[in-house]
Amino acid sequence: MTLELFWRGLFYTCLAWYTCVTLYVAVRGAFDIRTMLRSLSKEGRSEPRDE
């Protein structure tokens, strides 16, 4: 019974954690991409090149 409860608690924690992290990372990750591309443009690649 205790182990059943353990897995139940863990599964619902996974669902809750995943939902929160997805929302948070979706927003913050978008900013990270923007910063990364800006930084790459500045580092001697001021003009993004077409290949």
Partner: protein, 503 residues
């Protein structure tokens, strides 16, 4: 089976593919050199790192083997996720090995080893990493094709076509944009994949119910469904071997540590590890629950058309989950689930192709390059290697189907390099007496023992194959121990000046 709807599901899948391809191809213009191609110019920040690591480490292959573990072992199958998360959290909090790795500013693990053990060890480490990695990855495409065919209810004869289309899509943006494209598409794929996972999990709970899952697991596996130590097919040896596999995977698996190497600094790399650690519980537990649901929902009647179409009758546990999803998901949601799984798979395949390609270019081919090469030439070489890996994946996937359960195959092939690389990595960072002889001995032992096990399993002798399957965990534990012993004995047989850590 409800089946795939071309009017409702296909537009969802098509829209997802279009957006991903456009984003992946757009960022190719920022690729100026080999560092940009392999490590995104080392400009990755924490949240992009979390999305990328999570997306890479969850593919259709993950979903299939974790569901198979749930089908075969009940909830106990998800214990691997707990072991993995604990390892990741420990490494993230302490910086054990990963801090010196990032501070060294190398592109790959073998490059770090060269500083301590010399160029030959770098080359040998590159060879076993690629050998283990490609043997491991060789089954990804076939399993993904099987999932899509079974879940969508497609004609099984379309398996090869499905595999080829999947590969071409992934190769297109990986070839052009390298790690930059991988990071950006991983981000999109993480969001789509997560929405899909949540929606499918809620539907599974709605259809089977938590009590239904528990009673099904107990009916098939008894108390072993909840406790891996009392499950007749698991036990302490299984758990110990899996603990070693999970620890060494988060420590040395090239696609995982690529996020540490691409991070802005070691602090960012550690944060990515710490904050992604719990994801590794979800990565095993959510699909394992889908596997238990499949145990409740899929009957012999559902298997019959699949087996008639030529699918392997010994792999019902693997096929059950996609068949179950095809049964319970209505049109529209099936499209979302397919888009989510495609997202998961594309992010995994692209990252794997890139990182193994990086090791081939950086460590195996390095001794054969004469003189400095231009960035343009380096990029061309990397792209050709990624294309060659794509061709290999297709051919290997068409020809080879592993015996036994999928996870066991992945664990054994992963051990080909994880056992020795873990030993080398720890010794390289923290044992001043370690030297190249010990490193060479550890690499040889770590490669020979798992390959001998694979040969026994696939040689065609049923007695030998049965022995290899029965003692797989003991053999795995022995491999890790033998590597450590080989490193210590090999190092102590030669008198060398103690050296500090590789950084």
């Amino acid at each position: 089976m409800l089946g795939f709807s071309w009017t409702l599901d296909a537009p969802i899948v098509g829209a997802y593919l279009l957006v991903t391809m456009a984003a992946g191809l757009y960022v190719r213009r920022y690729v100026g050199g080999v560092d940009d191609f392999l490590l995104a110019g080392r400009e990755m920040n924490v949240y992009l790192g979390i999305a990328s690591l999570a997306a890479t480490e969850f593919g259709i292959i993950t979903c299939m083997y974790a569901a198979e573990l749930g089908y075969n072992f009940g909830f106990s199958g998800a214990v691997l996720g707990i072991l993995s998360a604990l390892s990741m959290l420990g490494l993230g909090l302490t910086g054990f090995c990963i801090r010196p790795l990032r501070d060294a500013g190398v592109r790959t693990l073998p490059e770090l080893f060269e500083r301590r053990f010399g160029p030959r060890i770098r080359w040998a480490a590159g060879v076993v990493i690629v050998l283990g990695g490609l043997l491991n990855m060789g089954v990804f495409l076939r399993v993904a094709g099987e999932f899509l065919v079974l879940a969508c209810g497609l004609d099984p004869r379309q398996l090869e076509v499905t595999m080829t289309v999947l590969l071409v899509l992934v190769a297109a943006y990986t070839l052009l944009g390298g790690m930059l494209s991988v990071l950006v598409t991983d981000f999109l794929q993480f969001v789509v994949m997560s929405i899909g996972l949540m929606v499918v999990s809620v539907l599974v709970l709605d259809r089977v119910g938590w009590e239904g899952l528990v009673s099904t697991a107990r009916a098939h596996h008894g108390e072993g469904a909840f406790n891996p130590f009392v499950h007749p097919k698991m036990g302490w040896q299984y758990v110990l071997f899996q603990a070693l596999v999970q620890f060494s995977a988060v420590l040395t698996w090239q696609t995982t540590i690529a996020r540490v190497l691409a991070a802005k600094d070691s602090r960012t790399g550690r944060q990515v590890y710490t904050r992604t650690s719990f994801f590794f519980v979800c990565r095993f537990l959510i699909p394992a629950v889908w596997g238990i649901a499949a145990l409740a929902l899929v009957t012999e009647v559902d298997f019959a058309p699949v087996l008639e179409a030529g699918f392997d009758p010994n792999k019902k546990a693997l096929y059950a989950m996609p068949i179950a999803l095809g049964k319970i998901l209505p049109a529209g949601l099936l499209g979302l689930m397919i888009a989510a799984m495609l997202a998961a798979d594309m992010s995994t395949d692209s990252s794997y192709m890139l990182t193994w390609g990086g090791v081939i270019y950086n460590d195996i081919l390095a001794p054969f390059r004469r003189g400095p090469k231009s960035e343009k030439s380096g990029l061309l070489w990397n792209r050709m290697i990624v294309a060659a890996i794509g061709v290999y994946l297709l051919l290997f996937g068409l020809w080879f189907s592993p015996k036994g359960d999928l996870w066991s195959y992945l664990a054994v092939t992963g051990t080909v390099y994880m056992s020795s690389m873990t030993t080398l990595f720890i010794a390289c960072c923290y044992w001043p007496r370690a030297n190249s002889r010990g490193a060479a001995a550890a690499i040889a032992v770590g490669a020979v023992m798992p390959i001998a096990h694979l040969v026994c399993q696939h040689a065609g002798n049923s007695e030998l194959a049965s022995w290899a399957t029965t003692y797989a965990s003991a053999w795995g534990i022995a491999t890790y121990l033998a590597c450590a012993v080989a490193m210590v004995v090999g190092s102590l047989t030669v008198r060398t000046e103690p050296r500090s850590a590789a950084t």
